[in-house]
Symmetry: C2
Subunit: 305 residues, 2 copies
């Protein structure tokens, strides 16, 4: 039976552009989070290297790995040593020509408790993920939006682009998720205006807080931070790239902000969540009681035409 109070930490880190085998910085950050009392540690999306989806190249496929594989073995060892649950993110090679953007959940005994293959895949300038990743399979082919049971409770792990889809959050909540977690890699195009950048960050915070509100459960997002230049091989102008905006945060089941990082530096964002609050919040805001499942059929349509 998980404890009532859950200490959570988001490790907001910047990407070393050198050796992706060098785990020194993340090891250190995970140990720091555990020393702060964290029982559940969330890492950013694809934390083992630079965000390679800025361009479409063949070379990054060399770095994909199986699950379980080297990254899960490393995270399993440190999870077991520290007795913490760790949610990481892997560029998964499932077969030749078949790759996923996969979140991995290591339980506090080091067991691989579950995986989640990103269901919504973006494809926008600087975020060419459809080139690299096959979307996760929904039933009957695969688990789709499935929760993972751990020592700290039932987790609804989603990944980055999923955060813009209320459907994903709702499906996890309906499967009994007690907490939604979003490993993320999102940032600004430095060419966008300051106003546009502000709207984007605010929208990103707002839509995720709304998942907490609509579902009566806490939400945590862990983003990377810092500027990553577009690889020169793309022949792009000097200085283009993504400025990952940090702002990793934890909010409670009314969407109330509990802890939030800044935009500019590496941080460990720690918070304590009371698992009993969802029970109370859902009593005063009984949205699950009133869903019109009889009238939602068209949610399964692309467009109501």
């Amino acid at each position: 039976m998980p404890q009532q109070m859950v200490h959570i930490a988001c490790v907001q880190n910047a990407q070393p552009l050198a050796d992706r085998e060098d785990r020194t910085a993340l090891n250190s950050a995970i140990r720091h989070a555990a020393a702060l009392g964290a029982q559940l540690i969330l890492l950013p999306e694809l934390h083992q290297g630079p965000y390679f989806c800025q361009t479409e190249e063949l070379a990054p496929f060399d770095d994909a790995e199986p699950v379980p594989g080297p990254t899960t073995a490393w995270l399993a060892a440190i999870a077991a040593e520290l007795g913490v649950v760790i949610v990481g993110s892997v560029f998964e090679r499932r077969a030749a020509g078949l790759y996923h953007n996969t979140a991995v959940v290591l339980d506090s005994d080091g067991r691989l408790a579950g995986v989640y293959r990103k269901m919504h895949i973006p494809d926008d300038p600087g975020f060419y993920e459809k080139f690299y990743f096959t979307p996760g399979d929904g039933p009957p082919q695969g688990p789709g939006f499935a929760t993972v049971d751990t020592a700290v409770g039932r987790l609804g792990v989603l990944v980055c682009w999923d955060q813009w889809f209320p459907e994903a959050a709702r499906l996890m909540a309906l499967a009994g998720a007690e907490l939604l977690l979003y490993p993320t890699a999102i940032g600004w195009d430095p060419d966008d205006s300051a106003d546009e950048q502000a709207r984007q960050l605010d929208a990103w915070i707002t839509v995720q807080r709304s998942h907490a509100v609509a579902n009566g459960l806490p939400v945590a997002a862990c983003n990377r931070v810092g500027f990553e230049a577009t690889p020169a091989t793309a022949g792009t102008a000097t200085g283009t790239g993504i400025r990952f905006w940090g702002n990793s945060f934890v909010c409670g089941p009314q969407g109330e902000m509990v802890a939030r990082a800044g935009s500019d530096g590496e941080e460990v964002v720690a918070a304590v969540l009371d698992r009993g609050r969802s029970e109370q919040v859902r009593r005063i805001w009984p949205f699950l009681r009133d869903r019109r499942v009889d009238a939602y059929g068209d949610l399964l349509k692309r467009w109501r035409d």
Copy 2:
């Protein structure tokens, strides 16, 4: 063809506790909104009198009316006179023993362009709506989440409690709604702590702004304002009641706040919306492209057990 720029106004009004036939205040506010340039005027939920759902009584049923009926006739006349679209709200008597909480849309020529019968009905202390209102019917019995075409574009009209359900907003967006509108009557229980009151208001704003973000369209909410005491017939302690929190607002298709009223007084909140912005926002945030309609089947379940 509707114009590119749409001037919208929300009439945030307090309830006269006297004569519900007295339309002086609302007439004046609607004329004021039109004088400000509004082409689309949104009124609060059940604007023709006090919020009678604070208790369960038989007397309020006397005030229910057919649609079309006196309120739509009044709104039609003023809409046609001023050449504006008006979204109002009626306690609808459909038959003996069959009542709805119904939004009505009067087009700028005075025609009743459409109605929306509130689909999600709350029932909480002070908001005993399930006693009074039958939820709107979904297909095949009724239109469910259906949009209304007007001179200012295709409107997705929802009502109050609907605002907490991302499903409702999504269904309206998928039906081509260009704007989501929420006539509302929501407020604080004065016995709640200041912290709890702040969380509630913030959650209410956040979840509605998130509908704008997730669907790439503007959202407007028009709330009532001011304290309404619980009717004495309920035998409640003196001073109990609801303090309607105002804060009517208009936000753009990235969830950005465009105009917002305060918590304490009557106001007309006016804004200009560019109908072309949704087109642009949905290009940079192409969520509709990536919805996993193949994997959303369980949204039609009450619980995934």
